[in-house]
C-alpha cells in the first residue's frame, strides 16, 4: 500500500542562540563573564505581556516558581508525560487558538527554575506567503522540554509562556526579552582570531554597540528612547566656546536593508522634507525577517541623523556619566560619544564629545 507522510518538524536540543547569547559566548571566551543587557519587555506574573514585538524570532526568559506537575518520582525517571500550553495572541489579545504538544518526559520541572521559550519562524521558501509556521520550544534550566508549531501568524506576535496551564502549576516572574533577542544561527571564532572578530562578524549590519562599564561588565546596547540624565546650562560650560557642528552629508532619509531572504525599507518623510530624498541600500545576510530589516533600516536612518550633529563641551567632570547617556545642553538633547578627563587635584575637567539625539 502507499504510505503518505507530511509536515515534518525537526528540532535539536541545542540552546536557542540569540544575538545576546552569542555575544556572551564571545566575551566569556575572553574571560569577560558579566554582560549587561537591556530588555525589550520585562514583567512579572503568569501572563504579563501584550506588547507586539518588532521581531518575529525571539526568546522569552524568566523564572518559574510553583509546584511541578509531579512531586514524586521513582529513581528511574521514565514513562511519565507532561505538556505545556503556549498561547498565540494578536495585539488585541488571544485569538483563541491553543495548541498542545508533546514534551520530553524524562525529567520533572524543578519548582524553582529558569525557563526560556524560543519562537522561531520556519522559513522554507523566499515566498513570504509560505512563511506561515512558527516554532515554539521550551527549555527549562537549559534542557529542551518540547517543541511545537503554530500554523499561522496573526499580525504581530505577543506570545508568552503561560505556566499556569495543564500539568504545570505555578507562575512566571522576572520575565524578559532582551533587546538582542533575534537569533544568531551560529557564532564562530576563526583560528588566530580574537573573540571580538567573531562578535563583530555577528553584529555586522546590526546597530548594536558595546563598551566595558565601570565595574568591568560589558554593556551591550541598541540606540533607543531614553531619559536625559543631566542638564547643562551655558553657564556650566567652562570653555570659552561651545562648538556645535552639523554635517548634512551623512544624513540618509530612505534606507533599504536586504536580509537573507527578504528586505524592507524605512523612510523618514520629515527628514526627507528637510534634507531631500537620500536613498541608500545595505546588504545584511544575517537578517532573516522583514521586521528585522525594517527595524535595522530605521536604526540606520536615525543614527545617520544623530551623527550629523556633533558637539563638544568642557565641564566639571560628573563621574557618574557614561557613554550613550542622553544629556541636555542649552536645551538641546545629545548622546555622549565619550569623554576625556584631565585631573589636576582638586580639579577634574572633562571634555565631552556629543552627537545628536535621534529619538522623540
Amino acid at each position: 500500500m502507499t504510505v503518505l507522510m507530511t509536515n515534518l518538524r525537526v528540532s535539536d536540543a541545542s540552546l536557542p542562540l540569540t544575538v545576546y547569547d552569542a555575544c556572551r559566548i564571545g566575551f566569556a571566551f575572553a574571560g569577560l563573564h558579566d554582560v549587561v543587557r537591556e530588555n525589550i519587555i520585562s514583567g512579572t506574573g503568569t501572563n504579563p505581556f501584550g506588547t507586539v514585538l518588532d521581531v518575529v524570532d525571539y526568546v522569552l526568559e524568566g523564572d518559574y516558581t510553583g509546584s511541578a506537575f509531579s512531586t514524586t518520582y521513582s529513581s528511574d525517571l521514565s514513562g511519565t508525560e507532561d505538556n505545556v500550553t503556549v498561547n498565540q495572541a494578536s495585539a488585541s489579545g488571544s485569538d483563541g487558538h491553543t495548541y498542545s504538544h508533546p514534551f520530553l518526559s524524562y525529567f520533572p520541572i524543578p519548582p524553582a527554575s529558569k525557563y526560556k521559550v524560543s519562537y522561531r519562524l520556519l522559513r522554507m521558501s523566499n515566498d513570504p506567503s509560505t512563511l506561515t509556521l512558527l516554532n515554539a520550544s521550551l527549555f527549562v534550566n537549559g534542557l529542551l522540554r518540547g517543541s511545537t508549531s503554530f500554523t499561522r501568524i496573526v499580525g504581530g506576535l505577543a506570545v508568552d509562556f503561560n505556566p499556569g496551564e495543564s500539568f504545570i502549576y505555578g507562575s512566571g516572574s522576572n520575565q524578559f526579552t532582551p533587546f538582542m533577542t533575534e537569533f544568531a544561527e551560529w557564532f564562530t571564532i576563526d583560528p588566530g582570531e580574537s573573540p571580538i572578530g567573531g562578535i563583530n562578524r555577528l553584529l555586522e549590519g546590526r546597530y548594536i554597540n558595546f563598551y566595558v562599564r565601570f565595574d568591568g561588565s560589558v554593556y551591550l546596547f541598541r540606540a533607543r528612547n531614553r531619559s536625559s540624565v543631566k542638564t547643562y546650562a551655558l553657564d556650566d560650560i567652562e570653555s570659552e566656546s561651545f562648538v556645535i557642528s552639523k554635517d548634512n552629508r551623512v544624513i540618509k532619509t530612505h534606507i533599504r536593508v536586504l536580509g537573507a531572504y527578504v528586505y524592507d525599507d524605512y523612510k523618514d518623510e520629515a527628514l526627507s522634507n528637510q534634507y531631500g530624498y537620500r536613498f541608500v541600500e545595505y546588504n545584511n545576510p544575517y537578517l532573516m525577517s522583514v521586521a528585522e530589516c525594517r527595524k535595522e533600516a530605521e536604526r540606520y536612518v536615525r543614527y545617520s541623523n544623530e551623527s550629523s550633529l556633533s558637539a563638544s563641551i568642557d565641564v566639571n567632570f560628573l563621574p557618574t556619566l557614561e557613554p550613550e547617556d542622553r544629556i541636555t545642553v542649552d536645551g538641546v538633547d545629545y548622546v555622549i560619544n565619550g569623554y576625556s578627563v584631565d585631573y589636576t587635584q582638586p580639579q577634574a575637567t572633562a571634555n565631552i564629545s556629543l552627537r545628536g539625539y535621534g529619538y522623540e
Binding site: 511541578a68 520530553l104 524543578p110 508549531s149 565601570f214 566639571n316 557613554p323
Partner: protein, 866 residues
Amino acid sequence: MITQAESGLSVGDYNDLVSGNYPYKYKVLARKWNIGTPTELRTNSFGPTEGGKTKLFSAYYNGSTWGFAIGAPAGSFRVNTAIPPHVIWDSANSVFQRLYVDTSTGALKYANRAAGSNLSISALADAGTYNFPSGNQQTLYTDNESYTPSGPAYTSTPAIAGGWTLADLFNPANPNPTSFYRGNSFSPATAVVQTTFSSAVSNCYKVKITSRDWTGLSGTKYSSRMIRNFDIETTTDAVNWVTALQVRKETNWGPKESRYYDIPLGNYRGVRLKIKNTNGSANIEIGKVQFVTRTSTTVNSVEYLAGTSWDYVFYAYRDFSKNSWNLRYLRRTGSMGSTFTDYNTGIYFQRPILSMDGCYNSTANEHVLAINMVETGSVVYKAEGAKAVPYVSQKSSTYTIKFSPQASGNPLVPSWLNPVDIVNPASSYKNREGVGINFINGMYMLTLRSYDANEYNLGTTVVSADNGTSQVFYSGYTSYKLYTSKDGVFWSNGYKIPTVYIGNLGVTPSIGWGAKPFLVGNEIQAHFHANFVDNKGYNSIIGFKFASSVMTGTYLTPTDITDEILEYSVDKSEFFSSSITLDNTSGAFTNHAVINDSSVAYLEHYHGIQRGPGDDVYILIGKTLVESISKIKSLDSSLVSITSRDLLALATDYTISEDAYYANSQRVFYDNYSDVTDSGYGGLAHTAKHKGALTAENGFLQSPDNVQCIAFSTFATDFRDFLVENWTYSHQGDKYGFIFKALDPKNYFFFEIEDIATANTVTCKLYYKRKNSYTLLNTWASVSLSDTQYRRYYSCFAGRFLFMTGTDFVLPGSDIRSFDLIPINSSSFYPDIGSIGFEITNVNVSEDTYTDENGVPATLPPGQVM
C-alpha cells in the same frame, strides 16, 4: 549613568558626589593581574606501601586543613576506569570522609578522619559500606589472540601436494608472520589447509588471518597472492567439519595485515581454510592463521565518582550490555552507609566518559558535573596498507551539566550539555584529559590536562633526579589549562597555565586525574598525585599554586599609587584608557611588586570628592590593565609613565583562539513536501532519496505500493538529541518507520511501525542496521494506534528514544513508548550522532536485498586517533 544603587554609596554620599559642591579627588589602586608561574607543592606524606605508583588520588580542603586520599592500584579495573576516591568534608562531624569503590565487591566505602590527618586506603579502616544496586558487576570479555591459550599440541594436515609446509602457518611459537606458506603451483581448484589440536580451544569466536611480511618485496604481487575467496571450517571432534563462514572478494591486503572473521562461539579442535582458486595467482601465501578466544572477567561498572558535597556523590555507571554510561548519584539522607539513596539522573551517554569531577555552588544551589568524554565524529578513513579503512573518529570533549534540586527528597533535574572545550575529532595532535572543577570566588574554575603537542614535540625522555628513573613526557605543548565561567554555561578559552616544574622532572607529570583547583587563603592551589616515586621511595602528592591575582579572583591588599601620581588623565569612549605619570624619585617603582615591566598590573580608578579632612567619598569609574611602562630618567627627576586600557582589551588583543570555535543555535526545520518551484522536483528539495521511487505530490511524501523506500532528510547530518514530528497516513499491512543516527544508508537505527491487521493496533520494532543487516533490538506488540492518530513523535534524548502518537490538538497520551539506547549485548560501539530519515519497507527487513560490495565493513572500530 552609574546609578546610586550601582555606586554602592549611600543616597547622601551619592548626592554629594554629583552635586559639584566639593573639591575633586581621585584614587588609583594597583593589583597584580596575571597568575604568573605556579609554584611547586610537594608532600612526602605517604609511605611506599600505600598504593604503589597509583594514579588514584583525591583531595579536599575544608578552609583550613587538607584531606587526602590515595586509592588502590588500577589493576583491578579496566584501563582508564580506575575510580579515584573522593574526599569530602563532613562539616557536621568535623571529619573528612573518604569515598571509594571497593574493587572486590563493587561497594562504595567510606572512612573518616579528623582534620589535619591524611587519608589512605591502607592506613584507615573502613567506617561503612554502601552497596551499589545489584547488577553493577559486569562481565567483560577480553580478546586473546593466542593460538592455543591452554597449549594443546597441534597437528597439521597438508591437504595438497607441492611441498607446502603448514607448520609455520599455525605455529603459535612463531608469532611473527614473516614465515609463510607457499605453493609453487596451485592445484586443484579448491585447496584445503587445516590443523587440529589435541584438546579443544575454548571460547573461540573469531579467526584471525594475517598476511606475510613482504616488506621490501613487490607489494602488489604478494598482495594478490593472499587468499581472496575461502571458507572457514571448524571442528569440535577433529573428524567432522562444519562451515563457519564464507568469505568472498577479500582484496587489497597489506603486508602483515590482520583481518578478523567472526565464527560462532564454541570450543574447537581445529580450523581449516578451504581456498578457492579464484584470485588468479598460481601461488597462495598466508602469514598466519589464529583462533581468537575470549576470556571473561568480572569488573566493576561504577567507573567514576564525583562527590559534589557531603550529601551528594555522583557516579558514572557503565552498562556493558548496552554500551551506555548512566549518570547516577547517591544522596545521603542520614548518616553514612545504609541511608544513601540511589538516584538515576535519567542521562545515558553512548560515548565513553574519560574523566569526571563535580562541585556544588551554594549560591545558585546547583551541583555541577564536569565531564570529559569521547567526542565521536563522523566516519573518517585511514590508510591501512593499501586499503582505506573507515573509523568513527574520536577525540575528547568537555562539558558541564548543572543539576538543580527539586523539592526535598526528589531527584535533581539536569540541564543539558554546556560545552567547555571541544577538540575537533579530526585533529591528530590535540586531546584533553583529567578534568577538575570547583566553585571559587563566585566563579567556576575548571582545569584540564591538555595535549597540544605535535609529532615533533612528543616523547621527550626526562630522567628523574629523585630516583634516576626515566619517564617520557609530552613536553612543549602539554600543560594544564584553566577555564572559567560565572554560570557554568558560558566558558572562557583555556588559559594555558605556565609549565609547572616539579623538581627537575620538567613538566606537568603524566597523571590520570585532574588537578582540582582549591581556594587556599588568597591562593589557588591544585593538587594531584604523581605517577612516580621520589628519591625516598615515597609517593608524593604534588601540585602547584598560583600567587594571588585578579585573574583568578584572589585579591591581595591593593597598592595605592595615588600619592606618586604627577599627571593623570582618563579617556572614555569605546575604551576606558588612562595615562599616568608616576614620581619615581624615591625608587619605589624601580622594582615594584605590582607596577613593573615584567608583569601585568591591574588598576582601579576612583573618582571622588573631599568633604572635609579625612572625609572622602569615591566612586569606581573604571578598571584597566597596564599596557605600557616607560621609565624616564634625568639628572633631577625619575619618572615612570604607564598607559592602561580597560578589560575589553582581553577580547580584542589578549585572547586569540588557537582553533576554530563554533557554536550553533537550536536548529529548527520544517518540510511539507510542497513543490514551491513548480518543477515537479521541488517537493523533495530537503529529502534525499536513497532507494525506491519516493515522490512528493500534493504536500505528501509518497511511496509506491509495496516497494521498499529509504530517504534521508538533508537539513542536517549530525543529530544527536532531537525531537521530530510528522504526520503519517498508513493502511493495515503497511510497514514504515523512522531512521535516526544514520552514518550512511547502511548503518542506522530504524524504528519500524507495522500496521497489522488488527484494527487500531500496531507492532513497533527497533532495529539497528549495520552493513545492511538489521538486528532487532526490541519489539512492542499491540501498541494502540487508531486511524485518526496520524501524528508521530520521535525523540532521542540523553541516550533514550521515545515514540508517541496523537491526533490533532489532542495530547499524545497513552501511546508513549520509551526505551533506552542501546539495549543489546554487544562489545561494539554504535554511532550516537547522524542523520534522520524515513524507511518504508512494506517487506520484511530481512528481505532487504540491497548490497554494495564496496561498502562499509562489518565493524566500525571506535576510538582510532587519526
